[in-house]
């Protein structure tokens, strides 16, 4: 029963076959027992979770509780949780307890969900392997010598190991989709502006977007319908009613046109991954969809543009971590002043990858370089977005691989940032364009999960989840699970 889907648990809760308190305790025990091997949680919230579960049970007993009432979930440690440690995977915030909830956390709390804990992540969401976390790497439940992907590696591993039925995550360049692919689960990053960024610690504001991870598309639809909202506290939030994504899951795929970009099957893609993904697209065709080869000619600009824009924004976003008001503060020696406070606090508390990106970003924005780097990158961004606008004139969804390779060994790319950055080669463009993207399990390469990426037009989350659900009704890749989690 550890692997029940959220919709099954929700029904059992409504029928009072199980209480939220029992369910919560069940998952807290699983985390306690199994997580030492995965390191997917930074914090567990035992007491608070049980209090939330009891409150949910009271609501369920009254009979008109929201759909997710009593369901335990986990939040990526990038989301601020009132009264609960929120580290963002960094030594800088290893002591930070926010006095407020992120809007996403608040949305889930209002829906009566229970927070089991906070999941591990790359430091400030900067990484594709979860190896940059101050709290140690997350291990992939399918192969504990391998990475879980990143930056939402903790949420992905926790869902894959059934330590939680679902989890929140964030995606700046692939941080939901790539770990979902590497851990064999379903993850969706909605359209930029669909999920509030309030209380979600910023990495690159114009690219960051919250989303969800679950064991299948049906559960992801339930979670996303709760998480998404218009939020006046986030100026980039979009004022548009939120759909109930569960309602359209069973729409037929007959007549749907799927674009398959040539550029996503070229150099850098593992041949077995290519075959696996192509087989999955063929399966979608069997369900009534047509496929069409398309071109996204500026795809090659995505990684370089991203590695200017994201560091530029992060160089400013992370300036607030200065040791003055909260977080890590270096112990100053006699005679050291404010300059030393900044330099030492930031040098001692930021990890290498974070420092690297701050340096790159500051360089790209500095006088005399702005036009050559930042302005150029913004131009590339517009071209990439235009590619998609053109493509979506002809197709309903775009499909291709999520990640070029299955999970790699921990430490394998540690000394090669560029090799690491190329892990996000297929996911970055959607962030630059602000489009929704998701990854669903579609097979195995080297006995490790492989993901199919689905990219939709703006606000086409319903259509994406519908296609994913239809695929999952016809296949069973999503119901495979790692060997020793039972």
């Amino acid at each position: 029963m550890y692997n029940n889907s959220i919709s099954i648990w929700a029904e059992k809760l409504r029928k009072r076959e199980v209480s939220s308190a029992e369910l919560t305790q069940f998952f807290l025990k699983r985390i306690e027992k199994l997580d030492p091997q995965y390191n997917s949680f930074i914090t567990t919230c035992n007491e608070q979770a049980l209090a939330q579960a009891n409150a949910a049970d009271a609501l369920l007993a009254k009979g008109d509780a929201p759909a997710l009432c009593g369901i335990p979930i986990a939040h990526k440690d990038i989301f601020c949780t009132r009264g609960v440690l929120t580290t963002c995977g960094s030594k800088m915030l290893a002591n930070f307890v926010p006095p407020y909830n992120a809007t996403s956390v608040e949305n889930f709390a209002r829906a009566g969900t229970v927070t089991l804990g906070k999941t591990n992540m790359d430091e400030f969401a900067m990484g594709s392997s979860n190896e940059t976390s101050f709290f140690g790497p997350v291990k992939n439940p399918w192969d504990k010598e391998c990475v879980a992907g990143g930056s939402s590696g903790g949420s992905a591993a926790a869902v894959a190991a059934c330590l939680t039925p679902g989890a929140t995550a964030t995606d700046t360049g692939g941080s939901i989709r790539q770990p979902a692919s590497l851990c064999g689960i379903t993850g969706i990053k909605p359209t930029y502006g669909r999920v509030s960024r309030w209380g979600m610690i910023a990495f690159a504001s114009s690219l960051d977007q919250g989303g969800v991870m679950a064991r299948n598309a049906q559960d992801a639809a339930l979670l996303l319908s709760t998480m998404a909202s218009f939020d006046a506290k986030d100026s980039t939030s979009i004022e548009r009613p939120v759909e109930d994504y569960s309602h359209t899951l069973n729409t037929s795929l007959e007549g749907l046109t799927i674009g398959v970009p040539d550029e996503y099957f070229g150099e850098g893609l593992n041949p077995e991954t290519a075959t696996t993904v192509q087989a999955a697209i063929a399966e979608i065709e069997k369900l009534g969809a047509k496929t069409k080869a398309i071109q996204l000619p500026h795809t090659k600009l995505a990684v370089p543009a991203y590695y200017v824009i994201a560091p530029a924004e992060c160089s400013a976003n992370l300036s607030r971590f200065d040791g003055v008001r909260y977080g890590y503060r270096a112990e100053l020696k006699e005679g050291e002043g404010v300059e030393a406070l900044y330099v030492r606090s930031r040098s001692e508390a930021f990890g290498d990858e974070v420092k690297r990106r701050i340096m790159v970003g500051a360089y790209a924005l500095s006088a005399g370089y702005y036009d050559a780097y930042y302005a150029q990158a913004q131009k590339a961004r517009r071209l990439i977005q235009q590619d998609f606008v053109e493509a979506f004139k002809e197709v309903d969804l775009i499909m291709g691989p999520t990640a070029p390779n299955p999970a790699f060994k921990i430490g394998a790319k540690g000394n090669d940032p560029v090799a690491m950055y190329l892990e996000d080669i297929f996911t970055i463009a959607t962030n630059l364009a602000g489009l929704p993207g998701m990854s669903i399990p579609c097979g195995f390469v080297d006995n490790k999960p492989c993901g199919l990426q689905i990219i939709g037009n703006y606000f086409a989350e319903g259509r994406m989840l519908n296609a994913a659900h239809q695929f999952q009704c016809a296949t069973d890749f999503h119901s495979f699970e790692p060997a020793d989690i039972a």
Partner: protein, 481 residues
Amino acid sequence: MAWETVIGLEIHVQLATKSKLFSGASIAFGAEPNTQACAIDLAMPGTLPVPNKKAFEYAVMFGIAANAEIGKRSVFERKNYFYPDLPKGYQTTQLAEPIVGAGYFDIQLDDGESKRIRIHHAHLEEDAGKSLHEDFHGMSGIDLNRAGTPLIEVVTEPDMRSAEEAVAFAKQLHQIVTALEICDGEMAQGSMRFDVNISVRKPGDPLGTRTETKNLNSFKFMEEAIELEVERQIREIESGNKIVQETRLYNGETRKARSMRSKEDSNDYRYFPCPDLLPIELDDEFIDQARARMPELPEAKKTRFINEYGLSEYDASIITTDAKTANYYESVVQLCKLPKPAANWIIGDLAAQLNKQELSIGESQISPEQLAGLLVRIDDGTISSKGAKTVFEALWSDGGTADEIIERKGLKQVSDTSALEAIADEIIANNPKQVDNFRAASADKQPKMLGFFVGQAMKATQGKADPKVLNQILLSKLTGQ
């Protein structure tokens, strides 16, 4: 050939919104340190800015008053630098696309001439907090109450040629922003701060190297600082030295200036568009609504006061110098319908009292209601002009209403005709000799002789008789008309 001074100004005008530019925290002056700083102002992780619509309305009003183009699309950028009173590590400001474009103001010079000063642009930005270096035993204290306060920074072209012109411009700007009610104009509280760019040259030469003297918060300091810097620059050049482009600080207490940093030490601020804020798009409707909500500007107000209240040009210009005085005046007039006496009292006794106490009209101890109450009693003859001064002083020091004070101090004039007639009859009966002399005197001498009877009557009423009424009664009884 004489040296020519060239001055350009950058003026920070604090907007009189209720809350900050990007958060809901109050901007009221004088609160305990850090009691008006919310999670956004503290730059807590995950917090985001939400623009304050009112600040845009105010900036648009300023733009309209400055005859400027309004930026229908304006972009906030991040200006990056580390400082303990700058919590985010960047200031959110505007650079490439400001909300107010090029415009101008015409200023009046002392010789009666008018001069056009061009505005390069004005942009919206947030203020920083305050670093407090005293009373912390070698450490610094940070007060973030001011952090995030909305400002417009007005940047002029280098169109001013003397300290007088710069001050005239500054005063006019002060008058306009207070008239628009977009700034409280409290200079001592830092609501308007001036940065002065100064250079000198021989007339006709290209612009000389300029220095910037920052953060002057009074017209007096501004004038002194400019004069001092112009003298310094001329002295330097005449002794064969070059002017170094630098930022300078002027100390109004010691009347000395010093270099703060040279251009070489300046930061690379790494400006870039703030990704947390979308470009601000203003439509015509928003601009029209701001225009409709604009209060009357000083020139228009002055003309109206002359026409509507019959004030002299001089009185009208004094009363409309600042919006608060004009508003005070109109409140008084509305209550007592006595436009001329109201102007006289506000320009006279009230202004004198405020000057003496170094208070602004907003801090007046006498409210428009109190002053109107006094004016009504002067007008209806209840009190004499001497009594009025007494009432005014009591209103200032003790409060209350004019009527209460008149009652308490027994200042009411006797204007009851029958009482005064009885007194007049008695005086006439008791002084037959003077009555005969009066009646025998020629008409031109009589008014002077009336003084004796008035004096007697005043004595009898302990000075409370209404002199107008008394004169009339005595005259008619003595002349028998």
